[in-house]
Amino acid sequence: MCGVRCEGSWIGLSRAPQTAHRAPTTMTITINHFLIVSFLLFTIGLFGVLVRRNFLTVLMSVELMMNAVNLNLVAFSRRLSSLTGQVFSVFVITIAAGEAAIGLALTISLFRQRKTLNVEEASTMQG
């Protein structure tokens, strides 16, 4: 099946007119777009967390996932006309700052201990 239509249909959102003689109008950015972007971001972040070996890269991938979540929160906040989501995302950003600080501190500590940042080698907790 073709990509775009199917994609819109698959998501089940409001259907765009698909006539060729449609007037060139500005494309309405709906919540679906935000969710797709957020999904992609989250997926990229998850991929990075699961696959990348470098601890720093993993940390950055975590940041990506958190930003995906933030985007999601803000998008729903707008859609539902409730500020709760936005406030929540500000909290998440705040926590993410702390998380980044701790994560960098861990990075330094790990490097001092192991002379490497390869997470595969930081596996002494294995059973």
């Binding site: 998850l46 967390v49 699961l50 997470v119 595969e120 930081a122 596996s123 907790m125 294995q126 059973g127």
Partner: protein, 727 residues
């Protein structure tokens, strides 16, 4: 008076209690001092030369008042016994005793055994079984009673002088009185069991008095030896008593003997068994051949004890018992044969040992064994009267000889070796004269006591009718007996010669100290010497009415009428011939001594000893019988048996504990298997299960953060998926 015979033994018993208690009280008050007695610290003071020395511990004088009490009670109680004994005898009357009068005083029923079914082996068997405490006065016990109390009294008087300086004066008299009590119970007993009580009592007193000087190992050992050897005999005796009880159902003399007299002939094998058992007892008590070894050692006791117990009275208890049971013995010719052969052999055997002894008391001891053999020889050929007659005369002259030897030892301050004596005849005249009279009597010089009794025995042996023996045996026994008579004369005169004749062979200092013994010792000697001289006149043969002792004892010892006739059957000429033979032999023995020792100073015997040194050594060492017993019984059966029993214990008996251990081990093995496979299996199985689970889940714990994150993600995805699908 005759109803008071129960009192006769009780006087010495009371004396024993008084003396014993007073002695104990006295001993306790000065026990502290006794504890530090130098003898006490060296119990085996063998180095002192005064073995048997009467004053071994004379430094401990006792209080004069208690000494007077001991003297009065000790001798007085026996004197009362003697008076009551003679009173009872004369109350009953000698003529009535000769007619067979028997007086029984029953004190109480001692052991009632109730009624039993008679076994029916012997007719007349009583269905009621019991033992009474009863005393019996008949002619046999009257004879024993008379001389036991009288000689006992004399020896008690003698002891006052002999033991006067001894610390154990009270103890000595207590034991001596206890002995008199036991001996009188033995003599007066009306049944086998009461006789056995007295029998054991005299054995105990013998043990106590032999070991009187208990701080000397030799005396203590001698006492033990006497006790143990007597136990062997008593074992036989008590088996004999059991046999009598089993066969007759009673132990009462009257019932047993009347039942035995009427017994059918088929009980003879039982009779033989019983009589041999009884005779084994007599062998122990009267020192016959296999069991004689204790008597020479018993001389370790004080000399009056040797005179009273080991010569005159106790050792004749065996003869008395055999004579008392003459009805039983007559029923068994085989048992009589055993008695005769053992007696004859012992007489000769002991006489030869007596030839080479150098201890004055040892010579007399072997002489006693030999004379006792004579008595058993008489009993064995059926001449119970002659045997008892010899018991009587032997009591007189052997008591006199022992007391005389005690007087010699007393005078020489404990010297007993006749090689260091000599020439005493003029120093201790009374002792010498009495000793000489007694020596003449034992040697069988005519008209003295020993002549008549010995002659009666020799005549009886010569004419002996022994149905189960080979026909030459009586002649052999007679030859042995008459040879023994010659040997007796020889060794007794050798003793007199070495002790009293010639010159003194000790040191001059000792010679100055020699004194005649006090009156309390010499008077009994004189009385006994007198009796040794005339005591035989109660049994003069040939003369009509001369054999008074035979008439007296006939009711007890010759119960069968035909035997009484037989006793007087012997021809006068033959009797005279036999007498002449015994006199000739005795004279030969005496003359040999006179020639060899009197004039030749013992050169001939010394030459003979040098010529056959093996023979002399064997005789001087008593044929090594003690050594043989030591090797066979003490070392062999005693210690070897102990080792054997140890082996049995180690191999057989230990099978039980070892088996138990093996069973326990087997059970514990099974139990350990259960533990190992079942209990441990449960525990290990649980652990193994857990371990397997651990291995399974361990692989999930990689330690890699990314794996965990993946699983988390997958889990989240799964949960959401489930949520979406199953909403």
């Amino acid at each position: 008076m005759k109803d008071l015979i129960w009192a006769i033994p009780l006087f010495p018993l009371a004396g024993f209690l008084v003396n014993g208690i007073v002695h104990l009280l006295e001993h306790r008050t000065k026990g502290e001092r006794v504890l530090h007695d130098p003898h006490g610290e060296q119990p085996a003071a063998e180095s002192q030369k005064d073995l048997g020395h009467p004053h071994a511990h004379m430094h401990g004088e006792i209080h004069p008042r208690s000494k007077a009490l001991h003297t009065a009670v000790g001798t007085g109680s026996v004197a009362l016994s003697c008076l009551f004994a003679f009173g009872a005898i004369f109350d009953l009357g000698l003529s009535r005793l000769s007619e067979g009068a028997t007086h029984v005083v029953t004190l109480y029923r001692w052991i009632p055994l109730g009624f039993n079914e008679p076994l029916g082996q012997v007719p007349g068997k009583a269905a009621e079984w019991f033992v009474d405490a009863a005393f019996r006065l008949d002619s046999l016990s009257a004879l024993m009673l008379a001389f036991v109390t009288f000689v006992g009294f004399l020896i008690h008087v003698y002891s006052v002088g002999y033991m006067g300086h001894d610390e154990g004066y009270g103890r000595y008299f207590a034991y001596l009185n206890l002995f008199m009590f036991s001996m009188l119970v033995l003599v007066l007993a009306n049944n086998f069991l009461l006789l056995f009580v007295g029998w054991e009592g005299v054995g105990l007193c013998s043990y106590l008095l032999i070991g009187y000087d208990y701080h000397k190992k030799s005396a203590a050992d001698a006492g033990k030896k006497a006790f143990v050897v007597n136990r062997i005999g008593d074992f036989g005796f008590i088996l004999g008593i059991f046999g009598v009880f089993a066969l007759f159902g009673s132990l009462d003399f009257g019932r047993v003997f009347s039942a035995a007299a009427a017994a059918p002939a088929d009980v003879t094998p039982y009779m033989t068994l019983i009589c041999v058992c009884l005779f084994i007892g007599a062998c122990g008590k009267s020192a016959q051949f296999p069991l004689y070894v204790w008597l020479p050692d018993a001389m370790a006791g004080p000399t009056p004890v040797s005179a009273l117990i080991h010569a005159a009275t106790m050792v004749t208890a065996g003869v008395y018992m055999v004579a008392r049971c003459n009805v039983l013995f007559r029923l068994s010719p085989d048992a009589m044969l055993v008695v005769a052969v053992v007696g004859g052999f012992t007489a000769l055997f002991a006489a030869t040992i007596g030839l080479a002894q150098n201890d004055i008391k040892k010579v007399l001891a072997y002489s006693t064994v030999s004379q006792l053999g004579y008595m058993f020889l008489a009993c064995g050929v059926g001449a119970f009267v002659a045997g008892m007659f010899h018991v009587l005369t032997h009591a007189f002259f052997k008591a006199c000889l022992f007391l005389g030897s005690g007087s010699v030892i007393h005078a020489l301050a404990g010297e007993q070796d006749i090689r260091r004596m000599g020439g005493l005849a003029f120093k201790i005249r009374t002792t010498y004269r009495t000793f000489l009279v007694a020596t003449l009597a034992i040697s069988g010089v005519p008209l003295l006591a020993g002549f008549f009794s010995k002659d009666a025995i020799l005549a009886a042996v010569f004419e002996a009718h022994m149905p189960t023996a080979p026909p030459w045996l009586p002649r052999v026994l007679w030859t042995a007996a008459i040879f023994t008579a010659g040997l007796t004369a020889f060794y007794m005169f050798r003793l007199v010669s070495l002790t009293f004749w010639g010159v003194y062979r000790g040191s001059p200092e000792q010679e100055r100290e020699i004194r005649e013994s006090p009156r309390s010792m010499t008077v009994p000697l004189i009385v006994l010497a007198f009796l040794s001289a005339v005591g035989g006149w109660v049994g003069i043969p040939i003369l009509r009415g001369g054999d008074r002792i035979g008439e007296l004892l006939a009711p007890v010892l010759l119960p069968i009428a035909s035997a009484r006739v037989q006793a007087h059957h012997a021809a006068v000429s033959q009797e005279l011939l036999l007498m002449g033979a015994s006199v000739a032999v005795a004279t030969l023995g005496i003359l040999l001594v006179l020639v060899w020792y009197g004039r030749g100073n013992g050169e001939v015997p010394a030459r003979l000893a040098a010529r056959w040194p093996g023979v002399y050594r064997a005789v001087a060492n008593k044929y090594y019988v003690d050594e043989a017993y030591d090797a066979v019984f003490v070392e062999g059966l005693g210690k070897g048996g102990g080792r054997f029993l140890w082996d049995v214990d180690a191999t057989v008996v230990d099978l039980i504990p070892n088996g138990a251990a093996a069973v326990t081990k087997a059970f514990s093995w099974v139990s350990s298997l259960f533990d190992q496979y079942v209990v441990d299996g449960l525990v290990n199985g649980l652990a193994d299960t857990l371990q397997a689970g651990y291995r399974l889940f361990k692989s999930a714990q990689t330690g890699r953060v990314q794996n965990y994150a993946l699983v988390m993600g997958a889990g989240l995805f799964a949960i959401v998926a489930v949520y979406l699908v199953f909403r």
